[in-house]
Amino acid sequence: MASVARARPRPAWPIVAGQELRDLWLGGRGLPLSLAFSALLSILSYLVATNRSLNFLEQHESVNLTLQVAIAVGAMLTLLAAADALSGERERGTLETLLLTPVSRLELTIGKLLGALTLWVAALLITMPYIWFLGRGIGIVGDALAVGALVGSLLAVFLASLGLLVSVFAGSNRVSLSLSLLVLLALFAPTQFPAGAQQGWAGELLQRLNPLTAGEHYVGKIVVDRHPWSDDVSWLASPLVAAVVFGLAALVAGARFIRLDGGPPG
């Protein structure tokens, strides 16, 4: 008679996360995306460095611009990876075999979330030499990298959780990716408003409520205006709240609603 598999003695989420890392970075999309990200930063750095030599862009602003692009694109990569995490498995027919294991859906969700977040870690590592190059000699590199890591991590957790949340319910990968990108575009939209619309109490409220604009505003205050970290810390409220709320929502939805065919809860 076959024996019963022994009770699982250790948590499974590190195993799921480890496999996600291998799938992402060994032959997966991790390396091409990181190369594309690196190419983007190279082009951007070249342009801002050239502008600086022509005195069009002050050095602090060069660092700020590069850092903000790195944060936005790096966080967006985590969104894309997370949006594919469950709906992709569903579409490739591999979700059922995962759901058939004794691993809880919560651990599955944690593993997938951590796997997606490694894209942000890679983006941050890639960004470091560019910031060092652009900010050398003005004593800004340490602060820029630290605030970039803080704000970028909050936004990455927020966006990865958002992508995962959509992926829990999306019946297809196409729906998951397009819905996630639509939300991302909506979040970026206020940055394209005319300068007048971004000022005044309504403009500031909108900027503060939007985690992306609030986070990038805070980065600007530290890097360009050289404010102490504590002066504008209220601008971190919405990125922090978004990261916590969406992070918890993704974990709860993952634990309770991951189903073979997706679809709304009920």
Binding site: A5, G93, T94, L100, P102
Partner: protein
């Protein structure tokens, strides 16, 4: 009993996919689950394997009630009907990952993987990417994955689908070994009735979500609905004599030349008759040599067609 289902019902909105599913499976037996497309086989397996929650009813697998799904999953192995495989992983990586999800450490996972890949004949290709595997190899890999936790009950949903005859034979050989050597109960969903007759100790026929029949192959075949028919073969030069003799037999409705082999006769029995003893006696009396005889309606195939209303 390793699987006990009691009045299980599964609804998708207004659609009832499985209705009053009640059956048992014993340790070490291979239970064939048969049914036409849409009969509810896959839904029934998904409910029993805890992928779907039942709308009503109860069941237990390996002695664990359905209210404890994680514990059931620890004791079962499943090959889903349309299982996908990560093409960028090797067979070895794939199995080791699943072994670890069942709580094995790295060393145990590697050992279990090596043994199972050997058992399903994939040891040589263990380092190849799954994307390079044939369909038959993927099915064997899927069966190996279903066995990675040394399960008490194995659910195989259409494991031979899309395989050539050689592949089908290999997979069915594996199924037999799972029951005989590992002592696991196997629930085998398939369309291949001949293989079910050969491999399964008992059969469960589903039709429109309900159990149409349950029992051994012989029991179910006996229950096949009338009308029955028979096919005989006599030497061609004895054809006229044979037809005359059969026409006088008490249970024969009609006897006529059949298409195909020379000397072949198709006989249809009268309502209420289940044998051709009188006809065979008449042939013997007339001195007609009987080369071949088959009573149709006594096979699983006939029972299946009759019970599922597809005849």
């Amino acid at each position: 009993m390793t699987v006990v289902a009691n009045g299980v019902r599964k609804e998708y909105g207004p659609v009832v996919a499985v209705e009053d599913l009640t059956f048992t499976a014993r340790p070490g037996e291979i239970l064939g689950v048969l049914g036409p497309n849409g009969a509810g086989k896959t839904t029934a397996i998904r409910v029993l394997t805890t992928i779907l929650a039942p709308t009503r009813g109860t069941f237990s697998v390996a002695g664990v009630p359905h209210a404890r799904p994680a514990e059931i999953r620890r004791r079962i192995g499943v090959l889903p009907e349309s299982a996908g495989y990560p093409g960028r992983q090797t067979g070895d990586e794939y199995l080791r990952y699943h072994a670890r999800l069942y709580g094995r450490n790295r060393t145990e996972a590697a050992e279990a993987t090596r043994a199972l890949l050997g058992e399903v004949g994939l040891h040589e290709r263990r380092r190849s990417l799954i994307s390079t595997y044939s369909r038959g190899m993927r099915q064997r890999l899927g069966i190996a994955r279903a066995l990675i936790n040394d399960p008490q009950v194995v659910f195989l949903d259409e494991p031979t689908l899309g395989l050539d005859p050689a592949g089908q034979r290999e997979v069915l050989g594996l199924v037999g070994r799972i029951a005989n050597e590992r002592g696991a109960t196997v629930l085998l969903s398939t369309h291949l009735l001949a293989e079910v007759e050969e491999a399964c100790s008992r059969v469960l026929i589903l039709n429109r979500g309900r159990v149409a029949a349950e029992g051994t192959v012989a029991e179910i075949a006996r229950r096949a609905a009338a009308p029955r028919s028979a096919r005989l073969r006599v030497p061609p030069e004895w054809m006229e004599e044979a037809l005359r003799a059969l026409a006088g037999a008490p249970e024969v409705a009609t006897a006529a030349r059949a298409d195909g082999q020379p000397g072949s006769i198709a006989v249809r029995l009268l309502e209420g008759h289940e044998s051709l003893n009188g006809g065979i006696g008449a042939l013997a009396t007339a001195g007609v040599p009987l080369l071949a005889f088959e009573l149709e309606g006594a096979r699983l195939n006939d029972a299946f067609l009759a019970m599922t209303g597809t005849r």
